[in-house]
Symmetry: C2
DNA sequence: AACAATTACGGAATCCGTAAAAATT
DNA sequence: AATTTTTACGGATTCCGTAATTGTT
């Protein structure tokens, strides 16, 4: 077993080329580095340097060793990071979502002090890795993940509606289909994650006027007749939608693709920790 | 950066369950381990143990940390092993072969003192990995390997012949095909590596009487009429074949599959080291 | 009473920096 | 003359083992 500080000296030397520079970089004196590299060679039983009276450089084996040493140091650092991350995960629940709907549900809750909601959305394919790497304790996702280590519990669903000007033909129907919305121009918030792909894939020849800012979105919505989307969860974030003076009519979309089920996914080993939060979420879901 | 001996104490504790047993295992005293684990917790800033006045055990995080620590230790050990292996490879050429033919060529040489021939054969698909991992410096193989790091030089070929009783019909032909050997029973050495698959795949309905010992092989060959195989390289190992009093006739096999080209494969970075040996091999090849 | 963990204390080994030496550019 | 590496030496830190303490089984 070789001490890490020797490995670090080797790696630093490989980068800076002289013992003097290495010492300066590591904030020690040259003799320290000299002794360190001698000790490393002795412990390995291998010559790593070619020495001339006033010059020292890595042998071929030394160059190889420097690369290998970097890997060992990386693994050591990984140990530190992973353990700290794991411990944090035991203490505070890192909560993530794949879409804005569930996030609105979470925002409507009074979260326990040990719970922290991450704002950015997680791609569905990143859910399992981020759970396994202990970056998140619980992720609300649209897939019923079930693996060796992960389990998922159903929370509720989100259904898309479209808000249409009351004088249009479609506004008088009880429901509409994506097809019937063909060719319209919609005003849409940029950050709607999963729904974006769904509306783009299902509404033919439509135009989507994406707005990055919610203020821009609400203003344009208010002073125009563009249709916009909302869901059964939208009322949990009323600030996003111009309820007052909005003379549009909310019409549910009947396509199966307009309904999305959400699940709480987490590591089985964390079941007890997340149980209260899941209970809270289920109760709050509309 | 965390000292490896602390990681080792943690891993050992995870295995033995008490500080006393851990200390005994590591051949230190209990206070040493107590202090070590305290220091580890302090440096990580994380609690790894649940402490009762008279009992200490790993917390959930501690169990996780023990596993992670093992990985870090493994990487450290890997560093040591790899560097030593690399250095050995710089000093002495580790020479391997995929088949007995090339090995006979090597055995016929007076090898330089820095060259060591490994006796067991290497599977063709293992050639590249074993070069890249520095287990071997040079491998004589039947594939012309060319990758980012590996290159191969042609050495020579080996051609299969069959030795038939002089009174049989086929013995009077200048050449035979695998098909013409249909249904015969052959006496064969078990350890012929690649040729085994070739004769089994190409000679229909044949029986192969495999002999693990060369003594058994030569004895049975001598006192029976079974045909056996040899190649242009066989004469380099005359002890394997009963030349005297053998009234069989050596007939070359004309199929393309009965000829095999051999190459010296090595890492480009070792080109200079292996050059003299390759020169020697090329010269010695029949 | 026996056992397990922790704390206290003293000695020993290790490690580091300063200083000096050797040799090159 | 200025750099670079190596060796020598003295001090300081760290680390370890023995012994004592605490509390449980």
């Amino acid at each position: 077993m070789i001490d890490n500080y020797l490995l670090e000296e080797l790696v630093t030397f490989a980068k800076y080329g002289t013992l003097a520079a290495t010492a300066e970089q590591l904030m020690v004196t040259q003799p320290t580095v000299t002794r360190g590299m001698q000790k490393l060679e002795e412990e390995l039983g291998v010559t790593l340097f070619v020495r001339q009276p006033n010059r020292i450089s890595l042998s071929k084996t030394g160059q190889f060793a420097a690369k290998a040493a970097q890997k060992a140091l990386d693994q050591n650092q990984l140990f530190i990071d992973e353990v700290r991350k794991y411990e944090l995960n035991q203490r505070v629940i890192q909560l993530g979502t794949v879409a804005p709907g569930p996030r609105m549900v979470v925002n409507s809750l009074r979260l326990a002090s040990n719970t922290r909601l991450e704002q950015q959305f997680i791609a569905p394919e990143a859910v399992a890795p981020k759970l396994l790497s202990h970056d998140y304790t619980l992720i609300i996702t649209n897939q019923e993940l079930q693996t060796e280590q992960i389990e998922a519990r159903y929370l509720g669903s989100e259904s898309l509606s479209v808000n249409l000007d009351q004088f249009t033909y479609l506004a008088n129907q009880p429901m509409v289909t994506f097809k019937e919305l063909k060719g319209l121009s919609f005003i849409v918030l940029t950050d709607i994650s999963l729904w974006r792909d769904i509306i783009q894939a299902n509404i033919p020849q439509a135009k989507f006027l994406y707005q990055a800012q919610t203020t821009a979105f609400t203003e344009i919505t208010k002073y125009s007749n563009f249709p916009y989307f909302s869901t059964n969860l939208s009322k949990l974030a009323p600030e996003n939608h111009p309820d007052e003076n909005d003379d549009r009519v909310r019409i549910p979309i009947s396509d199966p693709a307009a309904k999305m089920d959400f699940y709480a996914a987490y590591l089985q080993q964390n079941r007890k920790i997340v149980a209260p939060l899941i209970k809270q979420l289920t109760a709050a879901w509309l």
